[in-house]
Symmetry: C2
Subunit: 391 residues, 2 copies
């Protein structure tokens, strides 16, 4: 039996995701599909436009049989840990292989690159360290380091989905599950405007949604995704974005001592004073502009902001990463539930209630509660009252 | 030269305050009047309806020659420390005596009571401790203890302004400045509705202001106070009350560990879990209702809430109380400035700029910034950009 594993964010679920899901199922001849999905905050340090349960329900209605939450400690993370956590959870949930979308589109260059990096691991680390010491960001340093290795390679490691894919491949090799890739179509990851009539990046869709161009955005998302967005808009009037959380972030920075800020995950020395100064800005975009430097990418600053917002300390993060990542079910189809019963004999008990998640994964439960603060008081949900959605 | 000292909150300045100020000046034949005023948050743990500078400007226009801020560490405090900090600062600023309003109205019963408490201090402490151990609140325990002393006394220590006054008297004796009292008129401290045609309690005026009965409220405040309120309403649309800060308080409690909550000033063991549970409530009044117990008065819970909101730890408080309280000037008339030049020779240098206050009294500066969060982003002020108002 082929059980396909996919790693997703679906923020929101759009035609590009639908294409990837369908193509992956076909390529791997999947009998069942398991998704590991970021929860309330995403890998790039952004709040989700819909709650994790709502996004999971759309995924389960659109082809994923089981949707589990990637714990906060792995989700709001650099690509290597993100991939590591997701692939470990997929293996645990019974996936026999994974398939990811990439700019590259064929798996061999990834396998070659993984092999090169294993063989030259020491040399690569040295070059990488000297680059990082010059103060450039990790993605740039990594790409330069790979090129300087002077080993012929065919994978373009400047492409964001190729880099992420490479981490999936390394994790899949380690976890001994099969791995494949399909080519991403049309929209580039960061494109602020759509480039194709039906495919747009999640980023461009979020921009449309946040600027009241809802109808326009709906041209790029399947109907089930559109109705989830509509329902939330009707109930709350809000599509969460950083601006909705900025008052809390600003308040937190304002009332934290620099010692308290230094305890936050990914807060490196020196940034605490810049955070204090930048928090005087009236909105999140000006805050980010004032914070940005050669040393920090926009993404790493957004992740840091997320950790400040959720008050996730380096100690909290270390603790969460030191234990086996828990499987928390967000949504399941009947086929998915059947699979769960089959693997139930083993030592795998996914939590299905928010109240259990509060114990097994307090960071994700707390992130859910913080995420809800964007909504008006009356429409807020509380993490421990949530249950996995059964489709 | 008679230099009168008064301890005020002026939240907002009303006819009762005007009466107290005028009567005190006449009774003490004052040549100059110095006020020590609470800043952004008040003794009973409530946000000020106007910023400290705006309230000070009204005071300076209405008969106070110098208005200094009572530092946060003394202002948001039990009556004894509040009185102690205020009287020490008045002495430092050159006041030769103080005069306070009380239900009692004549000074002798206060002097007698201070003497009784000095003579029977050990016995009183023992009774008080046994009362407190039974879990009743401090004011109730104190009043019962005084009655059980079985020493004849004529001061009614159940009246809130008599209790506060007694602390002023004890502090004045310690600081060796003269002390007098005048009788408060009409409205009781806590009266939610006005009882006289021109005198209403600040509480009842705040209720009118927060329920859009502005015109009605203006019958009880002098014109200068009314126009300060009108100006703020026009600029910001807001009269700050706890409901304006509840989203931040709720967010803070939600994202703080119980260990972090336990570090907050006045957070006594056991309340941290009740705080977590109560923070699920959608508004401040329901939060307070859920939190209330025999052990904590509404006032002590409001002070605790203020400390959580401003992230004031017990260690911060201890540090602030261990140094000489700084004199921070909020407003001055020309007569006040002349006095400042005269006392300038001595070791007294009041800070007049918010930027200096950030160094000399970071808790008050930070409380100012937090207080501003009630206002829309565009109309917010930053503590270090503020200057004393010269009238």
């Amino acid at each position: 039996m082929n059980i396909l594993g996919v790693v997703v964010e679906y923020n929101p679920f759009h035609y590009g995701h639908a294409f990837h899901l369908q193509a992956s199922k076909e390529k791997t001849e999947a009998d069942l599909t398991i998704a590991i999905m970021s929860g309330s905050f995403l890998q790039r340090g952004e709040p989700a436009v819909l709650s994790s349960y709502d996004r999971a329900a759309v995924a389960a209605k659109t082809g994923c049989d089981l949707v589990f939450e990637l714990p906060y400690a792995y989700a709001v993370q650099s690509a290597d840990r993100f991939a590591d956590g997701a692939v470990r959870l997929l293996k645990k949930a019974g996936a026999t292989g994974i398939c990811f979308g990439s700019e590259q589109g064929s798996i061999d260059p990834f396998l070659e690159q993984a092999d090169i990096e294993k063989t030259h691991s020491l040399q690569l680390k040295q070059i990488l360290r000297s680059k990082l010491n010059k103060g450039i960001s990790f993605p740039a340093a990594y790409s330069e380091a790979v090129n300087e290795l002077s080993v012929p390679h065919s994978l373009d490691v400047k492409q964001p989905n190729n880099i992420l894919g490479l981490h999936y491949v390394k994790s899949a090799i380690r976890e001994e599950i099969s791995v494949d890739t399909i080519q991403r179509i049309a929209a580039d990851y960061h494109d602020p405007e759509p480039t194709d009539s039906h495919i747009a990046s999640a980023t461009s869709i979020r921009i449309m949604l946040s600027s009241n161009r809802t109808k326009e955005a709906f041209a790029y998302v399947p109907e089930r995704s559109a109705s989830a967005i509509s329902e939330q808009l009707q109930a709350t009037g809000i599509i969460p974005g950083w601006e909705n959380y900025y008052p809390y972030l600003q308040y937190r920075i304002l009332t934290s001592s620099t010692e308290e800020l230094m305890k936050i995950a990914e807060c490196r020395e020196g940034i605490e004073f810049r955070l204090k100064a930048a928090a005087e800005e009236p909105d999140f975009s000006r805050f980010m502009y004032r914070l940005k430097s050669k040393r920090y990418t926009q993404t790493s600053l957004q992740r840091l902001s997320t950790h400040i917002l959720t008050n996730t300390t380096a100690a909290d993060m270390e603790q969460a990463l030191s234990v086996e990542p828990p499987l928390h079910l967000l949504a399941a189809t009947s086929a998915g539930r059947k699979h769960l019963r089959l693997i139930g004999d083993k030592d795998i008990r996914p939590t299905v209630k928010g109240s259990s998640q509060r114990k097994s994964d307090p960071l994700s439960a707390s992130a859910f509660d913080v995420h809800q603060l964007a909504f008006p008081v009356k429409s807020r949900l509380i993490s421990y009252q949530q249950h996995a959605v059964m489709i």
